[in-house]
């Protein structure tokens, strides 16, 4: 998806503003969102790929304006509504009930219900075994494909149609482009690919910069 999330190389966002005193969460509700998201992954209600793609679909204005964990909240709620685990109306109604009661009064469980259905079995690892050997070995020159899928992909715009060198074979992994859409894990070999800064950014690139991306077989052709 050529969305707002694909930020590599964009201009206009200004200096990086780092607060050296920053620690921990910024609001008491944030760890609750983390817990809900992690629980959703573990049940599982959704995959990490579906979660990432849900975040990507926030819309550009919402994506840039929402705080980080508000993005997570939106992404998880949308996913659960799309999957029929909860409805927008239920969320709204429950939010109204709880907002009317201060933290200490409201029970967390309003009405016990049937356990949610599990969407498969959560795995501890994203590595998978594939029978075909890797197409590429370290040192092999490759060119990335000029793909613009409307759905989820992990090939950033700045690295499409670019020449690189295989730096390392990383084994085989779940393929996000299918897994984010319920089309299966379709595991592929993954490679660390090195790109020269000038190849990516042109004549104005800083000297002696290399960018490394982890890219699946399906993103690559021999150069």
């Amino acid at each position: 998806m050529d969305g707002i999330h694909d930020l590599g190389g964009m201009h206009g966002f200004g200096p990086v503003e780092a607060d050296p005193a920053e620690r921990d969460f910024h609001a008491p509700w944030e760890p609750h969102v983390v817990a809900c998201m992690e629980a959703g992954l573990a049940w599982p209600l959704f995959t990490i790929d579906e979660f990432r793609h849900s975040r990507e679909r926030l819309g550009p204005v919402r994506y840039l304006e929402a705080s980080y964990f508000e993005q997570w909240l939106d992404a998880v709620c949308r996913l659960l509504v799309e999957k029929g685990v909860v409805s927008d109306e239920e969320l709204e109604a429950r939010a109204r009930v709880l907002q009317a009661h201060p933290e200490s009064d409201a029970p967390a469980v309003v009405a016990p219900r049937e356990p949610a259905p599990r969407a498969g079995v959560a795995q501890k690892t994203f590595r998978r075994a594939v029978t075909a050997p890797p197409r590429f070995r370290p040192g092999h020159p490759v060119v990335t494909r000029n793909i613009h899928p409307a759905g989820h992909t992990r090939l950033p715009r700045y690295a499409r149609g670019k020449q690189g060198i295989i730096a390392r074979a990383q084994g085989a992994w779940v393929f996000p482009d299918t897994n984010a859409h319920g089309l299966g894990e379709a595991p592929q070999h993954l490679y660390s690919v090195r790109f020269d800064g000038a190849e990516l950014w042109g004549p104005s690139a800083e000297a002696r910069v290399a960018v490394y991306l982890d890219l699946w077989d399906g993103y690559l052709d021999p150069a």
């Binding site: 910024h26 660390s192 990516l200």
Partner: protein, 199 residues
Amino acid sequence: MGKYHANVDPYVVSRVRALESLLLERGVLAPDAVDRVIRRYGEAAGPLIGARAAARAWVDPAYRRLLLEDSKAALAAFALDFDRLVVVENTPAVHNLVVCTLCSCYPWPVLGLPPTWYKLPAYRSRAVSEPRQVLREFGLEVPAEREVRVWDSSAEVRYMVLPQRPPGAEGMAEAELVPLIPRDALIGVAEVRLGASPG
């Protein structure tokens, strides 16, 4: 996206509580899940495993090789089961920097909570295209003859930088070195300095 003030918007709070409440009812969320998140990622979690591994790599050459070549085995020494970390070593010839341009992928198990700046557009957009300038803004000037390698975490592989051991720290023991290693050095936006307070 948001800055550093606490966002206590009642609409957001009630929506979080609604989500949490519905997931508790469906058995998805365990009652102690939030406490476990706070314990795991809050300040009380103790020194970062990443800092502990880096300190050990500095004092023990065999551990350094293990951390660079088989991080799963190296992290097991700290009771961490994590099969997808790649540790990239800073040298006189190379300075490494980690980013996730597409979202905010970060090695939570070894570095804890990512800092807000790591997740925001300014860093995500510029770390890949002008890393030297970004590092300059962090107060780190990488000489032109040192290569800057930027690792964009586009898959499930996670990256951590093994910083260079600072001059003057040669005689120090592992336990003394751990508190000197700030998280920012393990992301690659800082180097480790003696006498500086860890950021």
